[in-house]
Symmetry: none
Subunit: 197 residues, 4 copies
DNA sequence: GATGAATGAGTGTTCATTCAT
DNA sequence: CATGAATGAACACTCATTCAT
């Protein structure tokens, strides 16, 4: 009855959510290139004209989906953030959070990878996105000041701290290889070895 | 007549080459999703029907282009390979070769990234491709035996040895950041710190 | 309460007026073919659903807009009508009125032209419209009786009396040609030469 | 058998012609605004993708159809052109030719009217088109020099010489009114009265 | 081997209109 | 009265591919 009386003519957070999930799933299933507006709409259970009620056009749909996931990732990364911990532990916790999140949300992460290697990446305001990850960057700055972390150009730090992680967690990487908790601990140690003073 | 036939052969190889370059350029310019057979053919200066003389279909075109680039990369990586050098130096030379190659051939590398994050990746026989990179893997195995390199699951090694490098070389990563020879040396040192025993 | 209701009435009439103007402006700006209900509504500052409160559907909107303009034209044509004047002067005044009106209201006239050459023209009751122009036709009948005007089939008279005028006043006709008061006087003389006995 | 063996893969003048006729017919039947590429293609008996083999896009289809008809009209107007005739007779012949042509080809003329009152008119190079009608304009110039025709701004001359004619011949004008040869003679006399010195 | 013609199926997007609020 | 949400149908156009030449 609830369903019967559901307001079909009021903008629907559920529908927006459904489009978000459908976008991710479709890109995962058939790839960025093959993901058409109509396929995404069908997956979401709405007509493709309805999609345009919620999104200006395809680009905006794809970009907003990307931004949404990036926010989720930053929230995952910074969950349990405790700046009283020793610096290495802060990073380890972030690393671990992120590993777990990506492992459990590979569909989202796969979307991010496909999006980021497409020309759509140019359509995102990266400065705004980076702000979500600011605390981690600040921790690293502090580490540099305290001569705990190598004083090198910043992109080098992320390239070693976080980039290998994404590869390890990514679905296509671990074909046939199982990484257990111990491996993750080891991997973090390697990342730390790379950046520590 | 000899000349005549040779001429024909040359012409053919030229066209195949033109299609290869056109594929890379088109994907670079407008992205994987927007790269259509006819656009690629136009870029190559042939009709799209001609493309089908050289490639069974679009997928085969994209896959073979990917494989071709991967071979180029392996050749670059292993250029100047000298197994009499100390292990660290072998890796450093490979690292450096690859950095230079990617920097100078970002169009190819961009293609690889877009391809590898698309579902087409499943269409490639990765075992065959990996074989091109075998010498490097063998070097690492030797390092492990000699307790110079950490004895960890193999994917962890590549994740730290080579993956950060690709990010550093990638055009979109270094927006505004200039990496000089010194930085590259530092970056290699970081990779080495990550994997060394 | 009186005020309250009157206010509502005013508001309504304003919206209807806004839709009328928006229809004309939109058709002028982008043409009949490209003028959609939603664009017209947006131009009028109302939602497209609201448009349907005032007009049964798109056709009725376009037709009623046409009829409205035709009324305006007839009012312009017959302004200052004075049947005591000599016949030629009555026509000259009408001619002049109309020239001025079209020149000053080319957006309306452009709409009329686009509408009249479209199949929508079949949807208008022309007999009713013609009635608005009756006085002019009656003047011409009197002229025929008095052997001042040629006794020819009536469409011939309008074809020479009024049709050239619309062309001369139309924006697209006079590209680069400036017609001054004197030219208009000459033009009327030509029309008069065509129809006079 | 001829039909059976007809070459289906060679560009086909017949098909181009069919598209031309289909464009005119469709616009006539349902109007400019409602004439879609797919309807025109269906009318022509080809798929709408095939239409794009022959025309770059809808605009080019519509414009080229317009230009084609204008050429036909100029050919009709100037048929039997004989500059040794007295000036009035040259014009009368042109007038008559045109009346006959429009009467017999009202579909084409209706297309012209709809096109010319649409914003597409701006897409045509009018100077080039005018050139087709040059001889008639030159005749009028000669008439002015010889003081046979009024020396007034040129648009006034065409407005009275040719514009009433198009109205008289146009299908929608003569609803219920039959114009016979005599009426046409009279109409030309009226036009001549308008422009003669 | 090379290509222009051909097309059914699809693209992203807008359409006119309805309906619940 | 006014409107935002909703949609099936249509839009102009491109797709990957085939085929006759």
């Amino acid at each position: 009855m609830n369903v019967y009386f559901r307001n079909m003519r009021t903008k629907d957070e559920e529908k927006k959510q459904a489009l978000f999930e459908a976008t991710v799933k479709t890109v995962n299933d058939i790839g960025f290139a093959a993901s058409s507006v109509s396929k995404i709409a069908r997956e979401a259970g709405v007509s493709s004209s309805t999609l345009y009620v919620y999104h200006k056009n395809k680009e905006e749909l794809l970009v907003s989906t990307y931004v949404e996931i990036k926010k989720k990732i930053s929230r995952a990364l910074l969950g349990n953030y405790d700046e009283t911990l020793p610096l290495r532990d802060i990073l380890r916790r972030g690393w671990y959070n992120m590993y777990v999140w990506i492992s459990e949300n590979q569909v989202y992460y796969d979307y991010v990878e496909q999006f980021a290697s497409s020309p759509f990446r140019a359509r995102v305001n990266h400065d705004v996105l980076d702000r979500y990850f600011l605390p981690i960057f600040q921790v690293m700055e502090k580490g540099i000041e305290q001569k705990i972390i190598k004083n090198v150009k910043r992109p080098l730090l992320s390239a070693f701290m976080f980039h290998p992680l994404t590869r390890l967690a990514a679905v296509q990487w671990c074909q046939g290889v199982e990484l257990d908790e111990n491996d993750i601990e080891i991997a973090f140690a390697m990342a730390w070895d790379a950046i520590r003073f």
